[in-house]
């Protein structure tokens, strides 16, 4: 097996069922890890890669829906649900909570593969976004407070002169800060910076920042 079609976790308290469904996925080229309880699944060693989890909705102790909420909290994992009988309220809640699909047991292989494939696509997208965000945040942390202020004003589209006025420094100093921000954050343009800032909800100008400069026009 050269390239895996993706990583799939199966969580079902019935070991025989998990194993059998795992076999279907393995035979289709997926990498499969089977867990027989929610607790065991949550204890897994993290693998930082796109993955999907096929959850049995009816499990003792922790229900599938509860586990789904735990997963959603901090993960790019995509969830596919399985149930013995698909009752409408549970399905709706699962889909609202972000489940990719809701399968009824016994699960036909085509449905299983289709659902898993869609889930992995979504996970890959989420994972990529997550990685981008993580890297950006890491870089952002290397900025000095002054560079952060300059970066925030850059994102707002202010010119060097305006930034200098805002911060009460010389335009020349701002120029240097600007170059460092671009370099440290590994962005090629202000537009790219603005996009990343928006996606990560970072680099917002903090009004409480010290503004030693001259008087500033107040709105209204």
């Amino acid at each position: 097996m050269t390239a895996s079609a993706g990583l799939v976790y199966i969580v079902d308290d019935d070991e025989a069922v998990g194993r059998a469904m795992g076999r279907v996925l393995v035979a289709s080229g997926f990498e499969v890890r089977v867990f027989t309880s929610a607790a065991a699944f949550l204890r897994r060693t993290g693998e930082d890669r796109p993955a999907c989890v096929v959850l049995d909705q009816r499990m003792p102790k922790v229900s599938g829906l509860e586990l789904q909420r735990a997963i959603n909290a901090d993960s790019a994992l995509a969830v596919v649900f399985m149930t013995g009988h698909a009752d409408v309220p549970t399905s709706v809640e699962a889909m609202k909570a972000g489940a990719v699909d809701f399968l009824t047991k016994p699960v036909d292989e085509e449905q299983l593969l289709g659902a898993v494939t869609r889930a992995l696509e979504r996970s890959a997208a989420a994972h990529a976004a997550g990685r981008e965000r993580a890297e950006f945040l890491e870089r952002l942390a290397s900025l000095t407070p002054r560079e952060r202020q300059v970066g925030a004003l850059m994102v707002q589209g202010l010119l060097n002169k305006q930034i200098a006025w805002e911060l009460g420094t010389a335009e020349k100093t701002v120029k240097v800060h600007r170059a460092r921000v671009m370099d440290k954050l590994a962005v090629g343009s202000v537009a790219e910076l603005a996009r990343l800032a928006e996606r990560t909800h970072t680099l917002r100008f903090e009004p409480s920042d010290p503004r030693p400069g001259g008087p500033r026009e107040m709105p209204g």
Partner: protein
């Protein structure tokens, strides 16, 4: 009269002739012939005088008689007028006055009217002295026996007293008694004739009065009775025409009630605004009572109102009188019916829920328990198929998969075994049962359910069935299930006009059997083999467990539950249970 006058004249003539004769015979000193002539003249004079005298007396008497006659005629018409104006409660002042005035014209100083009471006694209705009393006050009471004799229908005429029966329409109503104030004086024919005429007038007046009084009393009584009766009451004559109604009926006439629409003079049934079926049923019931084929009957039916369904109960009771007729009572029994239906529904739901909750839990458990191995089997098989499609299948793994499939299949088999064990024999409460009684209980339980759906349940229970041994509750659930199915199938079959379910019990070959046949559409022949399968159902909300469990229960009793389509239509289920004591 003329006779009296002639007699008087003759008497006077005789006196005159006799006198003349005596004078002529007597010795006369101055010539005999002259004296005879004088005597003749005297006699003639006397005769003429007598004639004059008689004429005067007669004229005076005639005048008196005429006055009396006029008084009588006037009095009689006055009596009539007073009587006619008389209405209960009787105000007799005017009448008494007119009777007092007429009394002398019938030769009476005292006049008494006695009325015959219901018990046959006489009660004095009025006792009057004439004004002015012609012969002074009456001296004595001649005794009651004249009245009693008169009451026997004869005119009793005695000196001083005249008693006349008051009779009209062949009914003896009382006695008119006249006293002339003199126990020795007899009654003239004229007075008797007038008295008879007066008695006739009085009799008819009394009849009229009694009738009116009776009508009034009857009407008052009837009104009071009708008003006190709960419900809307109409009294019908023999043609079904409304004679009278009570106040409740009148109030109901202005409501939307489809039954209480006819007023007095209308044919009740013709005014009824019910659907044809109910209307026909009502009309037939009314007719059956009116034509005397039934003394009484009751009909109930429902009708629609904007506020919802309402129920009416009608009772028709034959009037016990020669002319016939009936009392028609309408009651709005909606509240009662709703309560009954509610109680029945609740009761039935309990019975049903009791069965269904057990089945529902069982079904859910079965679903999950079977689903897991089925899921494993399916996925394993599909995985194996995929693996076999690769160029070099890992046969060792395929063998593992096959082992798993076998194991999961066994697991599913165990689930089935466990379900069987849920209905274990030792959980039953085994007793010796009266099969008929058990079935009757269920029929009663479902009676209202059937009635609400318009399904008639006919039972032919063979007496002295051999007793069977089993669990009462479990067998009741079987019967309940079969009967409920039959009722529902009959209701669902819209091509049947009169949905009916028949229940038959009997004994055959040392077994008791129970047959229930419905008027439903029957079981499609291709499904006859499947209807006892679990989860097979034709009902949209059915579990498909009823017949399956029923058959299990019957089999645990060493009996058989079978289904067939009846040749005359509908499905027929039969339960056979071995008789108690039969070696099994």
């Amino acid at each position: 009269m003329a006779r009296d006058d002639l007699a008087l004249l003759a008497l006077m003539s005789i006196v005159a002739v006799g006198l003349s004769w005596e004078l002529a015979e007597a010795p006369q000193p101055s010539g005999g012939s002259g004296r005879a002539l004088a005597l003749s003249l005297l006699a003639v004079q006397l005769l003429a005088l007598g004639v004059l005298l008689v004429g005067r007396i007669r004229r005076r008497r005639d005048q008196a008689l005429l006055a009396e006659l006029l008084q009588y005629e006037r009095g009689l018409s006055e009596v009539l007028k007073r009587w006619a104006a008389l209405s209960p409660p009787e105000k007799t002042d005017g009448l008494s006055q007119s009777l007092r005035e007429i009394a002398p014209s019938v030769g009476a100083a005292r006049l008494m009217v006695c009325e015959r009471t219901a018990s046959g006694e006489l009660s004095v209705w009025c006792d009057l002295q004439a004004s002015p009393p012609p012969g002074g006050p009456p001296r004595s009471w001649p005794g009651a026996d004249v009245n009693i004799r008169a009451l026997e229908g004869r005119l009793v005429q005695l000196p001083g007293v005249l008693a006349l029966p008051l009779r009209a329409s062949n009914r003896m109503l009382g006695v008119l008694t006249l006293f002339n104030g003199d126990e020795r004086r007899t009654w003239t024919d004229e007075h008797v004739r007038r008295a008879v005429a007066l008695a006739d007038v009085l009799a008819h007046a009394l009849l009229h009065l009694q009738d009116r009084r009776g009508v009034r009393e009857t009407a008052d009584f009837t009104r009071a009775v009708l008003a006190s009766v709960s419900g809307d009451v109409a009294v019908l004559d023999d043609k079904g025409v409304v004679v009278t109604v009570n106040t409740s009926w009148i109030e109901a006439m202005s409501s939307s009630n489809p039954t209480t629409r006819a007023g007095a003079g209308m044919v009740l049934v013709e005014e009824v605004k019910l659907p044809p079926e109910s209307r026909t049923r009502l009309a037939k019931a009314v007719q059956s009572v009116l034509d005397g084929s039934r003394p009484q009957t009751a009909v109930d039916y429902s009708w629609e109102e904007p506020g919802g369904q309402r129920w009416s109960e009608v009772r028709i009771q034959r009037l016990n009188r020669q002319e016939g007729g009936a009392v028609f009572t309408h009651l709005d029994v909606t509240a009662r019916k709703r309560l009954e239906a509610e109680v029945q529904r609740h009761f039935h739901e309990l019975a049903h829920v009791n069965m269904m909750s057990g089945m529902g839990e069982l079904a859910a458990a079965v679903a999950h328990e079977l689903n897991q191995p089925l899921t494993a089997v399916l996925s394993n098989a599909q995985a194996a198929r995929r693996m076999m499609m690769t160029p070099a299948p890992a046969l060792g793994e395929v063998r593992e998969i096959l082992d798993d499939i076998i194991e999961q299949d066994k697991r599913a088999g165990d689930v089935i075994q466990r379900i069987r064990r849920v209905l274990r024999k030792d959980q039953f409460d085994w007793t010796v049962l009266d099969f008929n009684g058990l079935i009757l209980d269920v029929i009663r339980l479902l009676g209202n359910q059937a009635a609400l759906g318009g399904v008639s349940v006919a039972s032919t229970l063979t007496p002295d069935l051999p007793p069977v041994r089993g669990d009462r509750v479990q067998l009741q659930q079987v019967v309940l299930n079969l009967l409920l199915n039959a009722i529902q199938a009959s209701i669902a079959n819209e091509s049947i006009r009169k949905p009916a379910v028949s229940v038959v019990t009997g004994a055959f070959d040392s077994a008791a059997y129970f047959l229930v046949r419905d008027s439903g559409a029957g079981i499609p022949p291709e499904n006859l083999d499947r209807i006892f399968d679990p989860f097979y159902t034709t009902k949209p909300d059915g579990f498909g467990m009823g017949l399956s469990i029923s058959r299990s229960i019957v089999e645990l009793h060493q009996g058989q539950l079978t289904a067939a389509n009846h040749t005359m239509g509908g499905a027929e289920f039969s339960v056979r249970l071995p008789a108690e004591g039969r070696p099994s």
